[in-house]
Amino acid sequence: MTNPSIYSNSTDNSISGSPVITTENVSIFYGSFQAVRNVFLDIPKNKVVAFIGPSGCGKSTLLRCYNRLNDLIPGARVEGKITYQNIDLYDPKVDPVEVRRRIGMVFQRPNPFPKSIYENIAFGARINGYKGDMDELVERSLKGAALWDEVKDKLKESGLSLSGGQQQRLCIARTIAIEPEVILMDEPCSALDPISTLRVEDLIHELKQRFTIIIVTHNMQQASRVADYTAFFNAEAGEHGSRFGYLVEYDRTENIFNAPQEKATQDYVSGRFG
């Protein structure tokens, strides 16, 4: 098996700028089952990186390693090294709660808290020790998520009273309110209608001025629209017949879609499988 990514390709046309997150030879296990094998991947600062690939290729699993969300799954284990700003995220001394405060996450299904719109945003900021003007932060975060105009008159209403697309933007607002440096998005548009999807995509374009974004998506058009870099993952049957995911190719998005180095990538982006 090859270890593609920027290391095996020529580096000159690849990742520019210093990486925020590095992934070195990472394998992820659920019990004895290996879900992801030997991934090398660097995430550059203030860029959007898309993870694409067929179901079961481990892209969401890998994403969840970056904020140690897999810690919650009994038996999940990470081998290799993931660093964030040169700190080993899986160092026993690192507090996972602290990691999640710097690396925010937006989930597949909108999951606002059963609280008011205002509290949905204020809660995260408060537990993260925000001491400033809360009204101002709520307004700024909602504006940042392109939701302010729609909800400014009903901040006291439940976050659950919003439509699905609005709920997802509320979740994004909640995430940017804690001012992380990296935002992980796990198929953020898969539960949304096309118009809401476009609004979230526009939002991602704006957010990358301030944040580094990693987005998992099933939608290849979405990856080509929003991402600066795209990583293509694939699944393969291992020695014992169990499937594991691995990184096939990681490059600038236009290269992945127009001039992929690997045949599997070519087949996937041209819709021949997956």
Partner: protein, 302 residues
């Protein structure tokens, strides 16, 4: 050709049958038979409740209204004296239930929070759940015996505190179970969101999950209260009984249920009437609390 024939005839068969929309008489008969049977079973199930309510209203309502405020404000009279009321027993029931809740609500809710949020199916939380099931099956008189041994013998006196402890033993498993259900009803996505914004389990549970599960917990507490308010056996040798007002928590205390037990078996007509009135008050109280509990769950968020 020949291979198509069966298909053809089958098709014709279906189309001719499809024209007939009337229900066959056999099915109609079977349907009405089963409906009758079901209604009959419902009637049998409701009958005890109906007859209890009827008897209570018939025997208790008269006394309740005959000297209206007196039933609630006066003390029970000595034998062969007319009039009087249930003041001490009503106060005692409220007091013992209150003490029971003060003990069982924190213990029950915090236990549920441990098993659902922190333990998450580990050995200890499984063990706790098993104990809860055993505890909910313990006969109520055993709960009384426990409180007698632990509280009455230590304090050297029967008291409302001992009665409250006995009731709390019965209330705890009900509260644990309903609180667990309430906490589990909060979707996984919300918990993930909490983790995603860097909330500790403690912050998430107490700021978001517990408030969202509150309607369920309130239901559990009211159901447990309804159960406790009607219990007699655990109070018989813990709170005991008192002809007068208990002047402190460290004295024998009258309760409605024990009063019913004591007065129903006396040969005096006035005492018997008071027992009926007390029974009516207890049942109405439990009914009201149960209805209250239902209204809590209607307002649930999830």
């Amino acid at each position: 050709m020949s291979s198509q024939n069966p298909l053809d005839s089958h098709h014709q068969d279906l189309s001719s049958r499809a024209m007939d929309y009337t229900v066959s008489s056999g099915r109609k008969f079977f349907g009405s038979l089963m409906t009758t049977l079901v209604i009959l079973c419902v009637a049998i199930a409701i009958l005890p409740l109906g007859s209890i309510l009827f008897m209570l209203l018939k025997n208790g309502l008269g006394r309740l209204f005959q000297d209206f405020p007196a039933v609630f404000t006066e003390l029970p009279p000595p034998p062969l004296v007319d009039g009087g009321g249930l003041r001490n027993a009503i106060m005692g029931t409220i007091l013992t239930c209150l003490i029971g809740s003060l003990i069982s609500v924190p213990v029950g809710v915090l236990t549920a929070i441990y098993t659902v949020e922190f333990g998450q199916g580990n050995k200890l939380s499984q063990f706790v759940r098993f104990c809860t099931n055993v505890l909910s099956g313990v006969p109520s008189i055993i709960a009384g015996l426990f409180a007698y041994g632990v509280v009455v013998l230590t304090m050297g006196t029967f008291s409302a505190i001992a009665g409250g402890v006995a009731l709390s033993v019965l209330m705890v498993p009900i509260i644990i179970r309903t609180a667990e259900e309430g906490l589990k009803s909060i979707p996984r996505e919300v918990r993930q969101g909490l983790v995603g914004i860097g909330a500790t389990t403690f912050q998430g549970v107490f700021s978001v999950i517990l408030p969202a599960a509150l309607p369920f917990i309130a239901t559990g507490v009211t159901l447990a209260l309804a159960r406790a308010a009607g219990e007699t056996a655990p109070l018989l040798f813990t709170a005991l009984f008192n002809q007068y007002d208990a002047r402190s928590l460290r004295e024998p205390t009258a309760t409605l249920s024990v009063l019913i037990y004591n007065y129903a078996i006396t040969p005096y007509k006035n005492q018997n009437e008071l027992a009926w009135a007390a029974a009516l008050i207890v049942v109405v109280l439990i009914l009201a609390v149960s209805i209250l509990a239902r209204s809590f769950t209607k307002r649930k968020v999830y």
